[in-house]
Structures are given as C-alpha cells and as structure tokens.
Symmetry: none
Subunit: 183 residues, 4 copies
DNA sequence: TATGAATGAGGATTCATTCAT
DNA sequence: AATGAATGAATCCTCATTCAT
C-alpha cells in the first residue's frame, strides 16, 4: 500500500471515529469525508460501504482491547487486577458508538470472539481466586462489563463503574478494589 | 378535544411506541400511521413533527413514572423499597428507545424535572435511613438507576440490575435487598 | 385510486416512454420526473424502482399487443393476415427500448407468455394453411418477428420488414403478401 | 510507438472487446484495465476517454471487415457470393456491442464510409448479375445486412440470416443460395 | 512511463413534511 | 377533519476522469 493511501486510511478512520462519536453513529459518509479532508470516493475506495467502515473501526478497537487483555492475562497479576485493567483500557476507546454494529459481520466476529474468550478465562480465574462473586455466570459478568464500558463518556472511576465493580466483588471484599479474599 | 380526536391520539401513541420499540427509534412516520390504521396527515394533525411525537411519548412515560414514584413516596414504606419499586415500574416502560430524546425539549423538561426531583428526595431519604451508600452524590445515583432502567430488554432481576442494586446498598447490607441498616 | 393519482401515473408512463425512447433506456429517474412535470418522489410512489417502471411499461405494451393478436386470431381471417396485423400493430409500439427488460420479471412474464402463446398458435395455423414456410420452428418465426418489430424506427413497410416477411412466405407465394397458396 | 506501448494497446483492445461483449457495452474502465492486466492510468494514456476506446474498437472491426470485402470484391466471384462472405465474416466480429457508437465520430467515419462504399458496389453488382432483388435501394440492402450481423449471438445460418438472405434473393432464386439467375 | 489513489458529479432511493382532494 | 398523494432535500454509492507517486 502506498504511503499516501495508508495516511488517508488513517485519516478516514480517525475522522469516522470522531464523527460517529459526535453523531451517535448516524453521521453521513459526506460528513466523514469532509472531516477527513478527502472526497467521498476516497472513502469508498478504502471501505466498500458504510457498514464496512463501522465494521473496520469495531475490528480495530476490539482487536486492540483483546491484545491488551491477553497481555495482562499472561502476567501473574491477580485476575481481579486484570479485569480492572480491562475496564481502564476499554473506557479510553470509542465503544459507545459501536453498540449498533452486529458481531455477525465476519470482520468483527473474529476479534469479538477473541476478546470474549480471554475475558471469559479471566473471569473464571477471578472467581477461582475468590476476588469475584461466584454466583454469576461468566457471560453475565462479561455482559455487565460491556455495559459499563460501552457508555458515552464512560470512565473507570465514574459512579456506574464504581458501583458495578463493587457489586461484582466477592462478599466481604466490597469497597476494597485491591484486596483478594483471604489476603 | 372531540372523542374521536382523543381516540386517534391514543392510537397514534400506542402505534408509535410499538414501532419505535421494534425498530429502535428509526421507524418512519408512514410506518407509524399504518400501524395506527390512520393516514400520515392525521399523524401530523396531532403531532407537528417527528421530534414532537417522540417528545410526547417520552413525556407520557416520564409523567407516568413520576406519578408512580410520587405515590410510593407518599407512603411510609422504607425509601429503599420505594427505589426498588421505581426500578420495577421503569423496566416495564419502553425507555431504551428514548435515549435519543433530549430533555431540552420543553414538553419533556417538565416531567423529567418532576421525576428527577422526587427521585432525588427518595435517594436522600434512603441515605438518611441508612439503606443506601452514603458516599455517592444524589445525581450519581439517579444517573446510575437511569442506566439500569434504560436498556433494551432490561428487567429488575437481570444481572446488571442485581449487581448495581447490590453495589448501591449501604456497607453491610449487600445481598440483602429487604434489610435496612440497624434492623 | 384518486383522479389526480391516475392522471399522474399516466403522465409518468408517457414521460418515461418518451425519455427511454430518446435515450435508449438510459434516462435517469430525475429526467423522467422532469419530463412528466412531477417530483421524483411521485415517481417512486407509483413505481417502487427503476426496474419496476420499465417492467410496467413493458407489461402495458405487451398486454396490449397480446389482446390485439387474440382479437384478430378469433376472426376467420387468414392466419397470414393475422401475422401481418401483428407486425402492423407492433411497430407502432415503443418496443425497441424494451430489449433490455428481462422477461424473468413476474410482472412481465405473464403477458409475455400470453403473447408468445397466441403468436405460436397463429404461426402454426399459417403453416397449416400453407401461407408460411413450413421449414422453420415456431419459436424461430416468433423470434424473427420479434427482431423485425423491436428496432428503433421500425415500420411495417420498411426494407427489413418487407424482406423478412417475403422470406417467411411459403415457396411460390413470395412477393404476394395477400395470397394464400392454392387460391 | 515503442514495442511495449504497442503491446499494451493491443492488450487493451482485446480486454475491452471481451469486457464489452460480456457486459453489453456497460463494463467500467476499471474492469477493462483489470482484464488487460494494466492500471487505469495506462488505459487513459492510450485512449483519451471511454467513447474514444469504443470508437477505436469500432474502427478496428470495421476496417478489418472493409478490407475483407474489398479483397473478395477484387476476385471474380459472383457478387452474391461476396455478400454471403461478408455476412460470414461479420457475424464473427463483436458487432452487437457497437450499436451505441455513433458513426459521427471522425475515427469511425472513415472506415465506416469505406465499408459502406465497397458494400454498395457489391450490392449493385449483385443486382446487375441478377442474383439480388432489384426492387430495393442500395442503402436499404446494406442497412438490412447490418441488422442481420449486428445481433448478439448472430450466426450466418441462424433463422434470421436464412430468412433475410432468402428474402433478398431475386425472384425465382429463393432457397437457392448458390444460384445466379439465368444459370 | 505505469500505476492506482483521489476526485466529485451524477444516479437511485428514502422519508419527513406539505397540500390538494 | 381525514386522507394519502406530491414534494424535494438528503443519503448511499458508482465510475469516468485526473493527478500524485
């Protein structure tokens, strides 16, 4: 890929992310092109259609997150810390706008599955180490974290995050983010 | 207002609610008119524009909720019970589709303020009675409940609701929905 | 259907026929709307899409022709005369522009089959009465007439028509359009 | 012109012919470039625009046919045979796709005129030798032959060709492709 | 010179809104 | 007053053509 094409692709992704965030996923292709300082045709050369653009952005974000969680999961940090790290990483990403993207899209399905898999292992590990409530199914916990991080303006220390993370703690560890039961 | 006009207005609101829920707020005016068994012209006689229709539905829902909370707040039930009652009532309403409606609309602002006010009093009462964590601002709690209640498919006993409500409990009362500190 | 709607539909069909004839089937919907003195939206209310419009025009033309041939076939005219009548009728219609319309479209398939059927019977009758060459398959003759009739500017007495009709005559009757063998 | 330039030009013409035949003249420049294994830029270096490319192909085909007819006309074959030879040659060429090219284009006008001229002489010769109907104008006959050879899938022995050639025969020679009146 | 990336006008289609019946 | 036909701006997307690499 030529240097200018790569640069423009990057410009498009950035502009699209910005526009989608501002408009809640309903910005037009013309708007995005303008925000990128390019013509619409260039958009379509890089992304065959609107859905493809959304899918690519989703794929990018989700892949990045999956890689970060995998890296953290490979350390010997407490699993609870790994989960907190995921929330910290995720709230930095433009996830709110991605709720309308279906994970059926093959471009998205792979990374989504990868993230789901590693998160699932971390959740089970956290329940095993006694830092996470044991009375919730794995999928319930990951869905819950999904809701925490997929809000406009989400932060890892905002009220919802604080309360949910507290509510996920194993009994007796509430309000003690760093503690692991028995320690 | 004549009897048939009131009837048509009712038909429209019902149809619009149904259509908006089915399509995630993106149903067309034509769809709504058809669902109501009326012509588009009749729609526009009752509601000046699409935003007005959404605002009206929002107004209806929010007013109903405000009235319910006010009624519950007028009893001597524990304030925590009043909050739980609000969640139970709210998840029955089509709130998920209303996230895109801004509360700036004058039609919505009144009822929204009314709901916010009564919820604020209940939250403070709950903190005073020791059933609700005291380390959160009133607005943080109401925002939090808003998120719990404004999801597609929300229920008052689904994982998010369970965990958030648990996280909102005063320390020592977690996992005990009915208890009030000191009892 | 309301009076003005019927009138507009008629205007659209006329305008579309004219535009398609002028541009060889490549006129835009905007062009057609303008030619009809209407907005594009009105076009789309009457015809769901471009293909639908072409299909409708085809259907109209073909149905009209089928009815004319059926009427002629019901008389006791010589079958050769019925065929000549078909050519006379058909060259008056805007058939040239319809070559790109596939008869797969269900709207077109019915009338096309109807026309094909009645023409087939007339061809066989003509061969039986000895006015039409017997060494050609029915479908070959109808295809041939199709080509005669589906040209821009076709007339029933232009060189191609004259020569082809002459070539279709039974041996011995060439150059005698009115004669039937043995008479 | 350099050797590789000539080679590319040849590649383009071949690819364009193939693509236009496959798509009925509506293939895109990108498609053609791809089929030629070249970039679009190279296409435009050789041909200033789409119409120019079509004109060139037309020019090629028509020139080739003109040369073939001229060669046959230079022999002492019966003129009827020369006409049949033209039909045989022409149906092998991709003429159907060229109907949309106007002969006004200066690139096409020359060869078209050349072909028309030689065909005209052959037609007159055939009428003189008594093998071709004498009651048709020269231009009528050449137009007629044009229609015969400019169809998708035309063959020199398909029903239309058979019937038209038969219809063009002088009276008394019908159904005898090889005969010349008086022989 | 060859390449293919960029451009933007043009075309099909949708839908909120207006207006004639 | 109710209806639904008409309107046209807005949106997605294509493709002939230009231009930077």
């Amino acid at each position: 890929m030529r240097a200018d094409a790569r640069r423009n692709r990057e410009l498009i992704v950035r502009a699209a992310t910005r526009v989608f965030m501002d408009t809640g996923c309903s910005g037009s292709m013309e708007d995005i092109a303008q925000a990128a300082g390019l013509g619409v045709g260039t958009l379509y050369r890089h992304f065959p259609d609107r859905a493809g653009l959304l899918a690519l952005i989703t794929c990018d974000v989700v892949s990045r997150l999956a890689a970060q969680v995998e890296a953290a999961a490979a350390t010997d940090l407490p699993r609870w810390e790994v989960l907190l790290g995921y929330v910290r990483d995720a709230v930095r990403e433009p996830l709110a706008m991605l709720k309308s993207v279906s994970t059926d899209d093959p471009v998205v399905a792979g990374p989504a599955e990868r993230l789901h898999a590693v998160l699932g292992r971390v959740v089970e590990g956290a329940q095993a180490e006694g830092s996470l409530r044991a009375d919730l199914e794995t999928a319930a916990v990951t869905d819950l974290l999904g809701l925490v991080v997929c809000r406009p303006g989400a932060r890892d220390d905002d009220p919802l995050a604080t309360v949910v993370l507290d509510g996920l703690r194993a009994p007796g560890l509430e309000n003690r983010p760093d503690a692991i039961r028995g320690q």
